[in-house]
């Protein structure tokens, strides 16, 4: 069966840790890091990558435009 799989890349150094993407993800893919980046912000990352559908909800709301989204059809 064909399924949509997605993945996001967060530009970690530019992420400001606002948590808005985490909140927006419908499938709870994202979480905030324990570590901080160079600016002292905790940043967003895919905690549950396999749940990502590439729906772009996170990237649409990310105020700092640091999320790139990829999507592909896979046959499982």
């Amino acid at each position: 069966m064909a399924k949509i799989r997605g993945a996001v890349v967060v530009d970690v150094e530019r992420c400001k840790g606002c948590v808005i993407c985490v909140n927006a993800c419908p499938t709870n893919v994202l979480s905030m890091s324990k570590d901080v980046n160079g600016k002292g912000y905790s940043f967003s990352y895919m905690e549950n990558p396999e749940a990502c559908t590439g729906c772009m909800s996170c990237s649409l709301v990310c105020p700092d435009v640091v999320i790139t989204v990829y999507r592909m059809k896979v046959n499982e």
């Binding site: 799989r5 912000y41 990310c62 105020p63 435009v65 989204v69 990829y70 999507r71 592909m72």
Partner: protein, 254 residues
Amino acid sequence: MSISIQDIIKEENKVFSKTKLLTDKVFSYCPGCGHGVAHRIIMEVIEEMGIVNQTIGVAPVGCSVLAYDFMDIDMQQAAHGRAPAVATGISRVFPDKYVFTYQGDGDLAAIGTAETIHACSRGENIIIFFINNGIYGMTGGQMAPTTLEGMKTSTSPHGRDLHQMGFPIKMTEIVAQLDGVQFATRQAVHTPSAVRKTKKAVKKAFENVKNKKGVSFIEIVSNCNSGWKLAPVKANEWMEEFMFPVYPIGDIKG
């Protein structure tokens, strides 16, 4: 068959990335501030329409004063509140270009009230983006004309008292009444669907300019989490709960 993330993250699978019309500079905005999303959408539309070489933006005085550092288009910085007059000057001498202002509520609805009303009443062929966060973000969170009743700001520290400080003002409803305004809408950028709708409105506004239809006025209700002293996600919730009833989302004219 399990597929690795690396397989997905390939150029041909890219469905969302930063528009080229945003520079490499890190936004000067606070984490979670809506200004960034608003910037992005506008630049995306300009990119999609292929009109960068015909577009001139006007930055206000407010947190977005540095918008010209982030938007990779020709831009002017206007005196506080005067962006619509500046845009008028541009649009009149370049009648075939796309001219927009990007203004906060202090800029547009306080000191710039006359310029806003008259650019709208004259029907200048421009777009006015109005970021309403109910506060003066840049200068440290003072009360704006759009501050809600009872809301605490650094100049209404005991909450906005309507009797003492006046009533919140609904600029979009006001300008919608003016004959020069073709399109007036109130949107938001805090959720994916809100962003999608706002982008549609932005596109429509640029189309209006193309067709010389007069003013398109797009209010974006947005958070100023710093000024509101709330975490970004909380701020957006607070916005839905308290700002939206006073500033309801939706098209008002056109």
